[in-house]
């Protein structure tokens, strides 16, 4: 993973920029092959996102969950853990918030915070299972988090169906208004877009990520554990505790994504047939951002803009929105393999340097 961390920091800021351009270029070429007009498509995409207040607000709402899950995955990466389970932690966080939102009745200043805290805790605990199994039993977290994603899906469905179901609807009761995390004045300002506090919390998450890992003792410990667990042991830092702690924090971040989808966007939880994909998208966002908090923020913005804009692209230019996944994939690819970009740049500029190319 070390290489990954350096990708963004080591190479010039040019690389991500060129990567985005190249990714868009790949998308354009594929559109041309399919007989679509890439210029029209990208213009529709941008118009959709920046065209009016409503869509811009909704784009922010689309960025929020992947920013959370991106931070979650990146946080675990920093501690040397590959958390494929953000999806399950997202679902569990969502469920925790729904349970509180539906079954508990409190004034707003208690209700919403309680729902947020419980959701984050439940997500964190769900992540901690994988951390504990790794620490105590040496079970590879990649497997356990994959399995826990499925378990979370079915467990959440059970909880919704058994305890929270609104008759006749395939979903829970609506959460109480007191648990809502919407920002009504901002929504009105944004022409009824679903603005909620989650976006602000996600930004706080970025700051937390940075301060916690680089400025606190515990963060220092987690980074040592992630970078060299043997040295951590020798330095008197408990690797096992670090693993569990990191998975808890990672899970809580992913859980918050789910929390705010319920409290800020949907206000209920459906019996779900499959995964939403926000957790998996978080992996992509983390990688796009080189596991740097700022990078993750930029990655989430890019991801959110492209995903939300994709709808407009198919609306305005009839381009299948799947193309956007190819574009995002290509961008990550070029970010991760800066060698390709340098190689390409060299080809283009025609200069041949004597040193080893890559």
């Amino acid at each position: 993973m070390n290489k990954l961390i350096k990708v963004v920091t080591k190479d010039s800021a040019l690389v991500p920029f060129v990567a985005i351009l190249l990714g868009l270029l790949v998308g354009a070429i594929i559109m041309l092959i399919g007989g679509y007009d890439p210029i029209l498509a990208y213009r529709s995409l941008l118009e959709t996102v920046f065209g009016n207040r409503y869509d811009f607000g909704e784009t922010l709402t689309a960025i929020t969950p992947v920013l959370f899950t991106g931070l979650a995955v990146a946080f675990a990466f920093r501690t040397g853990l590959f958390n494929i389970g953000a999806e399950g932690q997202y679902i569990m966080g969502m469920t925790g918030a729904t349970v509180i939102g539906v079954t508990v009745h409190l004034p707003w200043y208690l209700h919403a915070p309680l729902a947020v805290i419980v959701g984050a805790l439940v997500g964190g605990l769900w992540g901690m299972i994988a951390g504990y199994l790794k620490a105590a039993r040496g079970v590879n977290e990649v497997i356990t988090t994959i399995m826990l994603n499925w378990i979370a899906l079915h467990l959440a469905n059970y909880i919704v169906r058994r305890f929270l179901l609104e008759p006749g609807k395939g979903r829970s009761y609506m959460v109480d208004d007191t648990a809502s995390a919407t920002i009504d004045w901002l929504s009105r300002f944004m022409d009824d877009a679903r603005m909620h506090w989650g976006t602000a919390f996600a930004l706080l998450g970025v700051i937390f990520f940075y301060y916690f890992l680089w400025r606190t003792k515990q963060g220092f410990e987690l980074r040592v554990v992630g970078s060299n667990p043997d040295a951590a042991n020798y330095a008197g830092i408990s690797v096992n505790k670090g693993v569990i702690k990191a998975m808890f924090i990672s899970g809580a971040l992913a859980g918050l994504a789910g929390v705010f989808q319920v409290l800020g966007v949907f206000h209920n939880q459906v019996i779900s047939a499959g995964h939403t994909g926000h957790g998996f998208d978080g992996i992509a966002v983390a990688l796009l951002g080189g596991n740097n908090p700022l990078g993750v923020l930029l990655g989430a913005i890019l991801f959110g803009v492209l995903s939300y804009g994709a709808a407009g692209m198919s609306f305005g230019a009839d381009v299948p929105p799947e193309i956007i996944r190819i574009v995002i994939g290509s961008v990550i690819f070029f970010v991760a393999a800066p060698g390709i970009i340098r190689w390409l740049l060299k080809r283009i500029s025609g200069k041949k340097r004597k040193e080893e190319a890559i």
Binding site: T182, T276, A311
Partner: protein, 346 residues
Amino acid sequence: GAKNNNGGGAASPSASPSESPSASPTASESASPSETVDGKGFKFAMVTDVGGVNDKSFNQSAWEGLKTLETETGASVKYQESKEATNYLTNLNKFVREDYNLTWGIGFLLGDAVKDAASKNPDAHLAIIDSVVEAPNVASITFAENEGSFLVGVVAGLMTKSNKIGFVGGIDIPVIKRFELGFVAGVAAVNPDAKVEINYTGAFDKADLGKAAAASLYNAGADIIFHAAGGTGNGVFNEAKERNKSAAADKKVWVIGVDKDQSLEFGDDVTLTSMLKRVDKAVYSVSRDMIEGKFPAGQVTTLGLKDDAVGLPETSKTNVPQDVLDKVEEYKQKIVSGEITVPTAQ
């Protein structure tokens, strides 16, 4: 705050469980207008759930309804696919904000989104399939799947040789429960000795689970399976086909399809009949009502046997003997007249 519904992203359920790919009876055949209406200048739109407009299921069916409307009346029509649950509301709003005359939300997953769009835009008109939205500017269309399922239950009850019948459901949610309860009641009405084994796979999109579920049901002695499981049902068909390849004639197994005439897709060597659900017809006729100024705003329309919105396809006669079809017709009359009340899910 804004209300919406958060179904699964890449893999969310369609309320309507079939995704059988094939050319089903086109809307123009069945939903043909009695008199011509001029719809020029009218704009209609629909927003799909995450299944997409070519899901070969109810989204597609709805789109066919709109396209027929376009041909018949000259109205302009458009659709927007939803990639994930958060898009439901934004997509609906896209049309509402462009002053479309009527915007459809297809599928129960869009219920909350339609409600939200309607309350924020009281001048707009919206309609929803498979869900009830209480708003003065929304028309809600639901289907009495239990009635149609009752009839295919009658077929199954009369035609089973083993007295064991299977039901494969997607997820245990109210819509699917209606299929199950109607079907079980239909079987019981004509064949109290027959036992219906229920198997919910927990997914609408996992053909492998459907296949495995069908395999265990057939292995346990069932000879007919009714599926209400969307793409999962493809696995049920594949398992049946496979068994029939090698089985003796008297050991043949059957599948009862759902939503559309699935014999057109999977062939009539395995498809006994199907439980049709005419979303195209509903979309067409309500949209047409709008042009004619008869839009059922604020009303809930439940389409059942009496409207021919659910039931068996014509092709059933290939495999279902006439005496059975007569029985089906008999029960249909009883249900329409109210003599029999088919249980439904709550």
